[in-house]
């Protein structure tokens, strides 16, 4: 484990879940609110729901902000979080383990220019918040500034993931049939399946942000994930694969249609591998299927467009705003507003409004993704990309749902245009170096393309390219945009946040494929 910058994205995994990587929560009945029995209220009467949830009131918050500003600074905020999550796992035919997790705490941030002081505590007492605030204040060294004299809840937030029934109203016994049903259906569908693992998670989260401008922002953030993985055997050969769906959705998401799709995809993506041949090695045209291929955008341009790297001059995109970097039919956005998407947010973790940020407009690099520090640095409005893993971490520019808008080409036309290359369908993870611009993504399912047709399946191959060069080489974009429904998690600087991605069918004229099938030996070129 080295502590250097690390930028990676992957599909949520059970391994991560059992290690506490995925947030898991508490049990059965209605969500327990943290008890406030031991809290002595301030003189202010509690006015909104945060008092009962966090056991704090306006007076305590104002005092905390005043302590945070005790050595001067431009800005201070408190980020209260209560997150209750549940996980159920089926293995060897039984739902025989559950994971639960309760997180409760507050992070105090003090900002001076682009310098950050940060501290947090899990003890929501006046004294503990004061200590944390004084610790964070150490980033500044000037005379004290007064905190806000009053706090006010601003305009109503957009509601992008309202649930009919919140997860704390769903009993475990209601969830068990989902896992049992998926397991039975998979075994019934294909006799070659030998092992099935099903992981189900749900999360009910609440955040409260209070800042030195006197803003109060509250949001409730649900999340759910269903992850299925199978192992199949045929003729002494073993293959494994799976499928997962996720989003800020409720129990009603798990309709027979959703379950059916998860089962079909998990089986199909596993059993097709028995026919897989080794992928080739070397440069060739690559067609990316609509949907989770959006991982290319996340790695090739998304991270490099996070404004913290650009403010520091370390991103390969640091001097490219306003410059053409792709064909005019390439448009890329980072969007907080996709209803119920895993990467949707009603407000960012600094309390700033979150909408749609245009990264690439008709092939021209348009806007970086900002948090409040970088926005101030550039003299711009924040874009609502300030996100954090939890109260234990300060926010920084992060993606939400990153996708490319539809283009002028047809899917079949794109595939038919390639004489020899590969077609990529599903992925497990990717990574990028934001300065050099080199990035990779790992393909779990794909096909060879020979003479314009999909032929043999391929698997387990890494694709490696350079961000700006690959963007230039996107020479066909389909009309068939799909926002992927998978459980993607983005890691940066040891913080993980949930994200979404999407893309229409796209052709990259040439990129390095890291296969085992020997070298191509020739420069296969795209037609048309």
């Amino acid at each position: 484990m080295n502590r250097r910058q690390f930028i990676e994205m992957g599909a949520s995994s059970i391994a991560a879940a059992s290690a506490g990587g995925f947030l898991l929560g508490c049990a059965g009945q209605a969500l327990e609110k943290p008890t406030t029995a031991a809290v002595v209220p301030s003189a202010d009467a509690p006015r909104v729901s945060y008092f009962s949830r966090f056991g704090v009131d306006e007076g305590m918050i104002r005092d905390g902000l005043a302590d945070a500003l005790s050595r001067g600074a431009d800005h201070a905020d408190l980020f209260f979080q209560h997150r209750v999550s549940n996980g159920l796992q089926l293995e060897d035919g039984e739902v025989n383990r559950a994971y639960t997790r309760v997180e409760l705490g507050v992070g105090v941030r003090v900002v001076r220019g682009d310098q950050t002081g940060y501290a947090y505590t899990e003890e929501l007492t006046r004294e503990a918040i004061k200590r944390a605030a004084q610790t964070a204040a150490a980033v500044a060294d000037g005379p004290a500034r007064p905190g806000p004299t009053a706090l006010a809840v601003g305009a109503a937030l957009p509601q992008r993931y309202t649930l009919d029934v919140p997860w704390d109203g769903i009993k475990p016994a209601q969830k068990l049939p989902i896992l049992d049903g998926v397991n039975a259906a998979i075994f019934k569908m294909d006799g070659r399946i030998k092992k099935v693992s099903v992981f189900f998670a749900d999360e009910a989260g609440a955040i409260l942000i209070a800042d030195s401008q006197g803003r109060l922002v509250e949001d409730f953030q649900p999340m759910t994930l269903l992850y299925v993985s199978c192992v199949a055997e045929q003729g002494g050969r073993k293959e494994t694969n799976g499928y997962n769906v996720a989003g800020r959705r409720g129990f009603d998401f798990y309709s027979p249609e959703t379950i059916g799709r998860v089962v079909r995809e998990a089986v199909a993506r596993t059993t097709v591998l028995f026919d897989a041949v080794p992928a080739p090695a070397g440069e060739m045209p690559v067609v990316l299927a609509a949907g989770s291929s959006g991982i290319l955008l996340h790695e090739a341009i998304g991270h490099g467009m996070e404004a913290d790297f650009n403010r520091k001059g370390t991103s390969i995109y640091a001097d490219k705003i306003g410059k053409p970097i792709a064909q005019p039919f390439v448009n890329i956005v980072d969007d907080a507003a996709q209803p119920h998407a895993r990467g949707a947010i009603n407000v960012d973790d600094e309390g700033n409004p979150a909408g749609t940020t245009t990264l690439v407009d008709k092939g021209v690099l348009a806007t970086y993704m900002h948090d409040s520090i970088s926005a101030k640095h550039y003299g711009l409005k924040p874009t609502g990309n300030g996100r954090r893993q939890s109260y234990q971490h300060p926010p920084m520019p992060r993606m939400r749902a990153t996708y490319m808008l539809p283009g002028p080409h047809e899917h079949d036309e794109i595939v038919a245009s390639v004489k020899r290359g590969i077609y990529c369908q599903s992925f497990s993870n990717g990574q990028v170096q934001i300065g050099a611009g080199d990035f990779t993504f790992y393909v779990k399912n794909g096909f060879l393309i020979e003479d314009g047709k999909l032929t043999r399946p391929i698997k387990d191959v890494n694709i490696i390219g350079n961000g700006p060069r690959v963007l230039e080489r996107i020479d066909m974009v389909g009309k068939d945009l799909v926002i992927d429904e998978g459980g993607w998690t983005c890691g940066k600087d040891v913080q993980s946040v949930p994200v979404s991605q999407g893309i229409p069918t796209v052709r990259v004229s040439s990129i390095t494929v890291g296969g085992q099938g020997g070298t191509q030996g020739n420069k296969a070129s795209a037609k048309g």
Binding site: E91, A138, E283, A436, T512
Partner: protein
């Protein structure tokens, strides 16, 4: 929060859960204090300082099992938390393989001389870390060629953590550990508009083992400057050296399928290979949780089992798996330990430079970029950067390339390991030399 207070919290959780109907209980209380200071281009960038605490409870109720964790340690919160968790556990399917470990396997006393925790941490402040980070930047900018530098980020970090574990069948144990780390990352301007970044870091248990901060800063710049003009080379099968700092990542794909879970769930290419030759005779290492000052050192594992050295490969033959209590029962195998700690290699006699001379023509991998490995089949494909080896010498830098293969083939081609175990990671990997690997580039 003191050790005594955390012990009390863990004991309370165990007795409360038993009162509420759990047959057996394990409780693990953890406290961690972190100080993290980042310095960039002449000023403080970020400083984080906090103590966090948490409780994990594993419940065995009516033949069923669940685990839960909370950061809300107030006594009044714990009772309802456990009520809920026990209620949830009762809804699950029974699992005859779930139980606390056999108490005979528990740690009796912490072995002497592990050197895991350094009391000096008490006297090192955020200001000290800031000064160290500042001196690393100055050193990084003192290197010849530093006019190409775009940005230098340096970091000083330390943490103190304590684990206290109480089991209802007779375990009460705890241990503390410290970690100190310093790092420098340097971005430079390349002629083609790329901004390559490289860095140097150190990560140790005891403060006195940190190397000279200025040397770390200088080395970061040297590494970054060496990346200038990196190009993609042609695809071919060639000998590959993996630098000791990078090799831990490659090794992790060998260790991952060695767990009982992977084996029992048919997600391991090691199925049925215990006692059989797997790699070349150079593949020879043990898992050693008792290594003094080791970053993976621990007196007992996550289940409370007493730590012991365990051979994994001897002359290429697979000797053991990582088996915990649960999967041990499912597999009818005796538990060893649930996961890897420090890896103690049987080292070779030569330096990396001497190994490069032997190889003559090939590739030196200095870092991996993304990629993955399939635990069930052993297929891997990994992005790489590094240097061409030409005439036995380190040549020009390469980027945007990839290596791929199958573990069952590749480890048979391990022809040498260096004498240079990497000190700043638990894997302690030496330079690894493979006599042929598929490399993809142009």
């Amino acid at each position: 929060m003191t050790n005594e207070a955390m012990l009390q919290i863990a004991r309370n959780a165990v007795s409360l859960a038993k009162q509420k109907g759990a047959a057996e209980v394990a409780a693990v209380a953890r406290v961690k204090r972190d100080v993290d200071v980042t310095w960039r281009d002449g000023k403080l960038e970020k400083i984080t300082e906090a103590t966090s605490r948490g409780l994990e409870v594993r419940l065995y109720v009516d033949g069923r099992y669940s685990t839960c964790s909370t950061s809300d340690l107030r006594p009044e919160g714990l009772a309802s938390f456990l009520d809920n968790a026990i209620g949830l556990t009762r809804t699950l399917a029974k699992d005859p393989h779930r139980s606390l470990p056999d108490p005979a396997l528990y740690a009796k006393a912490t072995p002497e001389g592990l050197s895991m925790a350094d009391p000096k941490i008490e006297s090192i402040t955020a200001l000290d870390l800031r000064r160290t980070a500042q001196s690393m930047e100055e050193a990084a900018r003192s290197v010849k060629g530093s006019e190409a530098i775009l940005s230098v980020t340096t970091n000083g970090y330390h943490s103190w953590n304590e684990t206290t574990q109480v089991h209802s069948n007779g375990l009460e144990a705890s241990f503390a550990g410290t970690e100190f780390s310093i790092s420098a990352d340097v971005s430079i301007k390349d002629d083609d508009g790329r901004r390559p970044e490289e860095g140097e870091y150190a990560w140790v248990r005891l403060y006195a083992d940190l190397p000279d901060a200025a040397a770390v800063g200088r080395r970061a710049t040297e590494r970054a400057l060496a990346r200038r003009g990196a190009k993609k080379a042609p695809s071919s099968v060639m000998p590959v050296l993996i630098d000791n700092r990078a090799a831990g990542r490659f090794l992790s794909y060998l260790l991952r399928p060695l767990t009982g879970a992977a084996l029992q769930q048919k997600r391991s290419f090691f199925e049925g290979l215990v006692g059989k030759p797997f790699g070349s005779d150079k593949l020879d290492f043990a898992d050693d949780p008792l290594l003094p000052k080791g970053l993976g050192t621990r007196p007992f594992d996550g289940e409370g089992l007493a730590a012991r050295r365990m051979p994994l490969f001897e002359k290429g033959v697979l000797k053991n798996h990582y088996i915990d209590t649960y999967y041990g029962k499912k597999l009818s195998m005796a538990p060893t330990t649930g996961g890897s700690t420090n890896i103690a290699w049987k080292l070779g006699p030569k330096t990396q430079a001497a190994l490069a001379l032997d190889v003559k023509e090939g590739l030196l991998i200095t870092s991996f970029l993304g990629g993955n490995s399939n635990d069930a089949t052993g297929d891997f494909s990994l992005g790489v950067q590094g240097f061409v080896i030409r005439g036995g010498k380190i040549g020009e830098p390469i980027a945007e390339m990839n290596v791929s293969g199958r573990h069952v083939d590749v480890w048979k081609r391990l022809i040498a390991v260096g004498n240079d175990p990497f000190a700043y990671g638990a894997s302690r990997t030496p330079t690894l030399v493979f006599d042929g690997m598929q490399v993809a580039g142009t």
